[in-house]
Symmetry: C2
Subunit: 136 residues, 2 copies
């Protein structure tokens, strides 16, 4: 599997704050690149565990069900691309965005390519446990 | 006359870069304030000369005619409120925005209150000179 992250760094932004926002969601080495005069923070990883921070935030916020929906609807073939609110991420919160305009200065884009995207989704946002007919 | 400027400083922004963007348009002392958990760079002045940087940029870019239109359509009673693209301002360029979404992270808002807004407009963006029938 391959995992990549990308977030624009706009002129009035602090690159280290953008990095901090990204690192609240993913655990991987980040670098700065420039494309057509626009700076980006980018990172690549081959381990699903790099998404541990996002996974934990989703669990803590109790939004696994929402996250599963977003992840499923974002899957095309073997690729899942999700966009997260950069300013919310800086504050340690998960906020999915459906339109770039919803995240001032552009979203944090996480792209996951995997043979079995369903397994990736189950790991990031586990499905509700079955009760197996038992009362608890 | 009273002149005020206000620009949001979002979590991933560098307050000094936002100040630098604002200072490319206005020449006045700026301070940071917080309103409902949102930080802003703000400044107040009572001298039209505080708009000298904006005036010069408009002249240099040759967009006096456009600026006059924008300023006139932004005048309500004795008040003119204009919004400028924060990222463009950081680069030393004037870009008027009509919708907040056009300026990532919010625009720089300049509000001018004057007894005669027309004179203010003539100063910021002088009208084309009359040729008085002379050939040049």
């Amino acid at each position: 599997m391959e995992l990549s992250v990308k977030a624009a760094v706009n002129p009035t932004e602090d690159p280290n704050k953008v990095k901090a926002a990204v690192l609240n969601l993913v655990d991987m080495e980040l670098t700065m690149v420039e494309e057509n005069g626009q700076s980006y923070v980018v990172g690549v990883s081959h381990s699903l565990s790099s998404l541990s921070p996002l996974r934990k935030l989703i669990g803590k916020a109790g939004i696994a069900r929402l996250a599963r929906e977003v992840l499923r609807s974002s899957a095309v073939g073997d690729t899942i691309e999700i966009k997260l609110h950069k300013q919310a991420a800086f504050a340690g919160a998960v906020s999915f965005v459906s339109q770039d305009g919803e995240s001032p200065m552009g979203p944090i884009i996480i792209t996951i390519t995997a043979v079995d995207p369903g397994k990736v989704i189950d790991w990031i946002a586990p499905p509700p446990r079955r009760l197996d007919g038992l009362h608890r």
